[in-house]
């Protein structure tokens, strides 16, 4: 009897082991560090050749978009100016991207950029998510706050 039940135990352990193994290795292979732009700028020397996800704001006047070649470059800036002393860090990071612009992408928007940080200090984006925090926040509330 015990031998029969232990067969089940071995089968179960094999499955549990497989799940654990898949989770562990997949996290190692696909993990992406998530930073706010400030954290990213503070640590950027150590981040060359890593996959990162950075939340920041699109700098005014920095967007260069070539609709024919579908290439985009812009600078990602801290969201709240003043958290880092001026001149202490390089001002933001250059982002390059190839593809269709997300609907909500514009100057001054808060975005999350995911991509590879190259040794030449460029963030080569694979995805740009426009996560304006006020996206789902109704206009009314803003008007209320303003008044």
């Amino acid at each position: 009897m015990a031998a029969k039940q232990s067969k089940f135990l071995i089968g179960a352990l094999l499955i549990v082991g497989a799940v654990g193994y898949l989770i562990y290795t997949s996290i190692q292979e696909t993990k992406v560090y998530y930073f706010t732009i400030d954290e990213f700028l503070l640590n950027q020397e150590t981040l060359a050749n890593t996959d990162v996800r950075v939340a920041g704001r699109v700098q005014d006047g920095s967007i260069q978009w070539d609709p024919a070649a579908l290439t985009l470059t812009f600078r990602l800036m801290p969201i709240e100016p003043g958290t880092i002393p001026v001149g202490a860090l390089p001002p933001g990071v250059a982002v390059s991207y190839q593809g269709i612009l997300p609907d909500m992408f514009a100057e001054g928007r808060d975005v999350i950029v995911e991509g590879l940080y190259t040794p030449d200090q460029q963030l080569v984006a694979s995805t740009i998510m426009t996560s304006c925090p006020s996206k789902y926040e109704p206009e009314i509330e803003k008007r209320l706050q303003a008044s």
């Binding site: 039940q5 089940f8 499955i15 997949s26 696909t30 993990k31």
Partner: protein, 665 residues
Amino acid sequence: MTHLGTLALYLASVLAVYAIVTSLWGVRTRRTAWIASGTQAAYAVGGCVVVASIVLLHALLTRDFNVEYVASYSSSTLPLHYTVAAFWGGQKGSLLFWTLIHCFFTAIVLFQNRTRNQELMPYVTATLMTIALFFLGLLCFITPPFERLSFIPDEGSDLNPLLQNYWMTIHPPALYLGFISASVPFAFALAALATGKLGDVWIRTTRRWALTSWFFLSLGNLLGGRWAYEVLGWGGYWAWDPVENAAIMPWFTATAYLHSVMIQEKKDMLKVWNMTLVILTFVLTIFGTFLTRSGVISSVHSFTQSGLGPYFLTFLAFILVVSIGLLLYRLPDLKSENEFDSLLSREAAFLFNNLILVGLAFATFWGTIFPILSEWVRGVKITVGPPFFNQVNGPLGVMLLFLTGVGPIIAWRRASWSSLRRQFTIPLVVGLALGSLLFVLGYRNYYAVVIFSLAGFVLAGILAEFSRGTRARQVMLHESPPQALGRLVGKNPRRYGGYIVHVGVVLIFFGVAGALFTIEKQITVSTEQSFEVGRYTLLYTGITERDDAHIAAQVATVRVLVDGQQIDTMHPEKRFYKKQNQPTTEVDIRPTLVEDLYLVLGSYDEPSGLATFQVFINPLVSWIWIGGLILILGTCVIMAPNPAERQALALARASADIRGQAVAE
């Protein structure tokens, strides 16, 4: 008018407290009058919530923009059906909607059991009312839906454009129905634990509820995928976004439960496991709601960050403490003397299928909360995206697909070699033949070859079951083939309905595997310029503008040619929703059984006339929706009135009564 709504919500809260107290007090003091009074109060809670819902709907339909919710989620130009959908389009309204459905289900449960399960019912009422009370508390004190503004805006800020889609009007309700109906089996599970009536009465009583919950969870996920596919415009239907994960996790555990419960019915085993799955499914529905509403994890679905997180966490902790406490208390009574007989048995297949399903739920959970975990443990936020989930859940899904083929045709208890040979020869031959054929045809994507072969294996097994059963009836009862098939299914709807559901699931797998062959292209063209994607030639002929009070749109015209012959014209759009000041993408999809041509107008540059397109060729996507329809059909068959099941329930009740009397004596 809105004061009435607020009043109704307060009254409902008071009544819910009353229902909880009197139900439990009635059990304690063995006074049925108290219990009956608690039941009446529970119905009354539902009545109050109906009143509050009508008030909110009235405010939306009369466009009372002084009400903050109405001003925030609708506008004077919003079409009628979306105005109704705005009821669940925002945080506050969706919580009220949630409470409404919960009360509706509660009323059905109370009515169904007005003369039955009298020992269990007080606890069921108390549990369901506790859940209602939590949501009512939020509605009264944290997110009051009838709050008024200090001024009257001339116009509302409109429903989010992404929500203005017909799938969106039915996808959240479907998912809510699935989430909320999971609370019924949970309430009965707690009642069984509390009373010690741990036999299979509670399981048989809630079987249909568990199935209903599973059905709506399936439907909600499918519709959500459909919505994402049509509206979000990134070419896919599933992105392992935290909120999608929140919706699929309870589906995994509910699916596991529907299988493992059969082992309890047949062999009186896995009682603790089943109890755990029911509790876990319910906990995951609340966890899912928490994920959506707390803003702890960023997601495209997130509602405005609200202070709801802590309340949900507290409620989750409360549920877990009560459920685990009761479970541990009754643990000695849940032991089973039976054992599994053989690894080559249906029990084993179900057991392993359960482990894989729970593994899928766990992996999904782990990946979803990993950013929070890693921040706690290591101080760095590490996220994992779709690649993680595909890498983990893909192989687990393939294993599950294999077991889907094994489970229905392997014998219970112990399969003999001769029965294995009889049952498995055809499916294995079909699967292997299909695999070899694909290999010979030059398919070298082994993942896809394995999935397609397994799909053949599973389908052949199911078809063989149907044909064997039909032929037996034809020979023995001299019925015509359609008659034999109809009666075969009618005599055992649970079994054959389950097979039909399996067919649906296999087709969904088949459709999902098509994603391994997706082609994507991005290109910028000028008017009258054409480009090639796959076997299609697309000719862009220009943009027309459309403008009304609600939406301004740029509509591209693209001719679709194959081998120089025009087969279709497509019109992807770029829309601008005026009230929300938001541009959106309106894709055009040309579905066929083989592949979908999915066309996105990425951008349009007015001065140069250049249009940028993103084109996807998504093979086999249609089979996901077809599989979904078959799944719905199968579930309807399972739900069909079933005399055998009713008999089993009556028998279970009778034997429970006899046992109860024996104990009393």
